[in-house]
């Protein structure tokens, strides 16, 4: 039987030992009228060979186009070693490291991951991941409400130019707890947050302020101003940051005078394929003072009975399996394997490598922008600086242009009309280090063609 090792003889011996004649008898406590597991929609089983053939056909059916689409998921080169190592059975088929002595590998790895993330963000503490970027932001909002002792508010200010689905996800999650999100509008001319709007909020009680930089448009906010302003108002600052960008950008721990309080984002760019949407990993970092409000698992270094260094899950009193209804979150299973991949990725790249990747993404995006602008009928919707995403204002709806480019097997970007109907003619384009000069040229020609 597929995946079941029992021979007929095994089954018989085992039933003899139990003292029953049939497996069916073992279900005798289940009310008779419930015992009807008849399956109708499920087809007959197939061998691995037939299944792989089917999946191969399905996978091949979807032509993967040359992609300039980012908008929250980014195509990067993933070193061959990353998944060769991460797929080792000992990583892939282990459970959460509840038995520390038998899970030192995973535990040390998480400790190293935490270290890498705190260094990248210049924060004190990292957890062992949450689901992905949007849920990380939702957890950060809840955390800010819990952690902000100065504020009694259940309201948060949030950048209107954070990834729109992040905001939607946060709404889904936190409104159940009667927490309100107030959006900060972005300036039509710059794509950046409207500081004037903040002036109007002066003195109101909010638990926290969410800043995304790079924001959804790829632009860089005045994070120092925003951070200091929020801190003056007694708010906690939550930064939402693409980790690749931190290869070149100033880390949120250094924003303003005191740095951000919580930093979250999606770790997907760190060695994880775009993979149709997941699994990715949400990362979360914070200042030491508020670690007890952090959701999710955290690994600490300690010693064993002999005084030897070892690693273990710690501060578990924050978690649902100990604290139940009083836990910081209901999260249990997180994204362990992706943490493994991201750790290997960061180890292979190191500071220089991540700098080079980020710089190449930026250079490529700038090069593409230059060439696109040279077409004449396209302009930059928002001024520089941008990181690796840029918004073009087209002479016609982005949706039509994308359809045209798609016919040339190019996935040209994200139609910002979906985000805001004032941006109907705007295209959000991402260029990573995977693109060559030739690819960029192809994009420009395809765009020109689609604009004709």
């Amino acid at each position: 039987m597929p995946f079941i090792p029992h021979t007929q003889e095994d089954t018989k011996t085992m039933l003899d030992d139990i003292g029953e004649l049939s497996i069916e008898a073992l279900f005798d406590e289940i009310p008779e009228d419930l015992r009807n597991g008849q399956l109708h929609a499920t087809p007959e089983g197939m061998s691995e060979m037939a299944m792989l053939r089917l999946m191969n056909e399905r996978a091949r059916q979807d032509v993967v186009q040359m992609s300039f689409l980012g908008a929250g998921a980014y195509e990067h080169h993933i070193p061959g070693a990353v998944w060769e190592l991460a797929s080792r059975g000992e990583f892939m088929t282990a459970y959460t490291p509840y038995q520390a002595e038998a899970s030192q590998g995973t535990l040390q790895l998480i400790y190293e991951f935490q270290t890498m993330m705190t260094r990248l963000t210049a924060m004190d503490v990292s957890n062992a991941s949450v689901y992905e970027g949007a849920t990380a932001l939702a957890e950060a909002m809840l955390m800010a409400v819990r952690a902000n002792k100065k504020s009694r508010s259940k309201r948060l200010l949030c950048a209107g130019n954070v990834h729109p689905r992040y905001l939607q996800t946060c709404r889904t999650i936190i409104t159940n707890q009667q927490i309100d999100i107030q959006e900060i509008p972005w300036r039509q001319d710059r794509g950046l947050l409207d500081h004037g709007y903040l002036d109007g909020m002066q003195g109101e009680d909010f638990a926290g302020l969410v800043i995304a930089s790079p924001n959804f448009f790829g632009g860089l906010e005045d994070v120092d101003y925003l951070t200091d302003w929020a801190h003056e108002q007694g708010m906690l600052v939550i930064g939402v940051v693409n980790p690749t960008a931190l290869g070149i950008l100033r880390p949120p721990g250094e924003w303003g005078d005191a740095g951000a309080d919580i930093v979250v984002g999606d770790g997907q760019p760190l060695g994880i394929p775009v993979a149709s949407g997941g699994p990715y990993l949400g990362y979360m970092c914070c200042r030491a003072a508020i670690v007890r409000q952090m959701p999710g698992r955290i690994v600490g270094r300690t010693v064993d009975l002999d005084g030897k260094e070892g690693f273990t899950l710690t501060l578990q009193a924050r978690e649902q399996h100990i604290r139940r209804a009083r836990a910081t979150s209901n999260i249990c299973t997180n994204q362990g394997l992706l943490v493994t991949a991201a750790s290997i990725y960061m180890s292979l790249l190191g500071d220089q490598g991540l700098y080079s990747v980020a710089a190449r993404c930026h250079h490529n995006t700038a090069l593409l922008a230059k060439k696109v602008l040279a077409l004449g009928n396209v302009s930059l919707r928002f001024p520089e600086p941008f990181f690796h995403e840029v918004v073009f204002e087209l002479p016609k709806p982005a949706a039509d242009v994308l359809a045209g480019m798609s016919r040339q097997q190019i996935l040209g970007g994200y139609d910002l009309g979906l985000f805001d109907n004032r941006l109907e003619n705007c295209l959000l384009v991402n260029v990573t280090e995977t693109k060559t000069g030739g690819d960029i040229e192809q994009f420009v020609q395809s765009l020109a063609h689609a604009l004709e």
Binding site: F27, Q61, L109, E132, G336
Partner: protein, 485 residues
């Protein structure tokens, strides 16, 4: 040795990137002034380091791993390969639907199979783990009551044996939790339940078979009681492996449920994730289902799969992540479902149950005490070591740690909370009789050791990379990231 201690300034795996010109067109104020301090190691050092870390782990591929409630069964490599096909891995989540038909066909069919095994009328695959499925489910219950302007309902009932995510979820959804005790034989105490329900009851969350490892025989009565009080019933499907293809939660009377694909559908646990926790709903809750969902329509006489979004499901509780869930896990589960097929699903529940009952019987014969000796084991069961703890001073944790020395991962310890000194043991259907017999022998040996040399058991493990760790120090003197001074 930590990877940071292996490093050496300026070292890195140079085949992995082309050194690039510095960024000068972004004003300096935006830029990093100092390197972050990532590891500085060569490619070989990286490979060796992570290879060596992996070897300090127990895993299904390495060991019998009878962790109760976690369904640590074999993770088919064929499913892994299927999900790793470049066409799936390189597909952007926002790729247009007409370039996603193969992928979406898999998801659509998976939705159908999950409806089939759960007896529900709609499924959303988007939750990224069991706990997120629970969240979605309870949020739907809330949305349902809200829609009906039934604002008084502020409480979720939860049996006290429940998994921690259940109460935590209820609270995340803004509810108070009221625990309902279970009787001495593990079923929900009907009298207490009747006392507990009322106009304040939003719903009840329940796992069946429960985390006590028994199937609640009066589940239909429970459903009636809660429904009559105007509450809805949430089914925590983490234990679905016990009854897959045998019984459908929908038939028991549940309104909403989640399934842990990383348990029942054999996707790898990855040392703590990723998971996937699709939810299924009955008709009442269908309008509130989280987005996106894959729909199917005929276009030019051909099947066309499309995304149902907020526009299509206006009362939806909304989305739960930036994209559409843990696609790769869904593909693995789909592949597994195709390999099992109809009969295979039936067999999962059957042989998981056979193995659990066999193991329970053998442990009892070896002198261990079952927490529910008069009950059938579902796919898991509880052993209590309170007698051993009392008489020999060797407790459940000691047994657990000593098992590691024997090459077996420990069962879940001290859970469910209501049973003292307990081990929750789940062998799963993919383990052979020989493996189970080996485990029984190890348990019997430890029992002998506990009598003859209790200190040795109390100081176990002796063969792991570390001995027992100082958890108090870990929590008191927090060392959560490495600083080299």
């Amino acid at each position: 040795m930590l990877i940071f201690e292996l490093g050496n300034r300026d070292r890195s795996a140079r085949a992995q990137y082309e050194a690039d010109e510095p960024v000068t067109d972004i004003p300096e104020v935006y830029l990093r002034s100092e390197p972050a301090g990532l590891p500085e190691v060569s490619e070989l050092q990286t490979v060796r380091h992570f290879t060596s870390l992996s070897r300090r782990n127990f895993s299904i591929d390495g060991q019998f791993y009878p962790l109760g409630s976690c369904t640590m069964k074999y993770n088919p490599r064929g499913a892994h390969r299927a999900a790793s096909l470049p066409g799936f891995l390189n597909r952007h989540p926002l790729a247009p639907e007409n370039h996603s038909q193969g992928f979406m066909a898999c998801l659509y069919e998976l939705q159908e199979y999950l409806k089939d095994v759960s007896g529900m009328s709609a499924v959303s695959l988007t939750p990224m783990a069991g706990a997120q499925g629970e969240f979605a489910g309870v949020a739907m219950i809330r949305a349902y009551h809200d829609k009906n302007r039934d604002d008084e309902r502020s409480e979720i009932l939860i049996p006290n044996a429940a998994h921690g995510t259940n109460p935590a979820t209820a609270v995340m959804c803004g509810y108070r939790v009221r625990e309902v005790p279970v009787t001495r034989d593990g079923d929900v105490d009907i009298a207490e339940l009747k006392d507990a329900v009322g106009p304040q009851t939003a719903g009840l969350m329940m796992t069946n078979p429960s985390t006590c490892g028994v199937f609640d025989r009066r589940v239909q009565e429970i459903a009636t009681i809660v429904h009559q009080a105007g509450g809805l019933l949430y089914y925590d499907g983490a234990n679905m492996n016990a009854i897959l293809g045998k019984v459908k939660p929908g038939d028991m009377g549940f309104d909403v449920l989640h399934l842990n694909l990383h348990k029942t559908f054999a996707t790898p646990h990855g040392g703590g994730g990723p998971g996937s926790g699709p939810i299924g709903v009955g008709e009442k809750l269908q309008p509130f289902i989280p987005t996106p969902v894959v729909g199917l329509r005929r276009v030019n006489d051909k099947d066309f799969y499309y995304w149902l979004d907020e526009g299509d499901i206006p009362d939806s509780i909304g989305c739960l992540s930036a994209f559409m869930g843990n696609a790769g896990i869904l593909l693995r589960a789909y592949a597994y479902a195709r390999m099992l097929g109809r009969e295979g699903m039936h067999r999962v529940g059957e042989y998981a149950t056979l193995n659990a009952n066999y193991l329970a019987v053998q442990l009892r014969k070896a002198g261990f005490q079952l927490a529910y000796p008069d009950r059938r084991a579902a796919h898991e069961f509880v052993v209590t070591l309170s007698r051993e703890s009392r008489e020999l001073g060797v407790n459940a944790m000691d047994f657990a740690k000593r098992l590691l020395d024997y090459g077996y991962h420990a069962p879940t310890t001290y859970f469910p909370l209501l049973i003292p000194e307990c081990l929750l043991i789940e062998p799963t259907e993919t383990e052979s009789r020989e493996e189970i017999d080996g485990f029984v022998q190890a348990m019997a040996s430890i029992l002998r050791e506990a009598k003859e040399d209790p200190d040795m058991v109390r100081s176990a493990p002796h063969t792991m990379p570390v001995k027992r760790l100082d958890d108090v120090k870990a929590a008191r003197e927090l060392d959560l990231s490495f600083t080299s001074d």
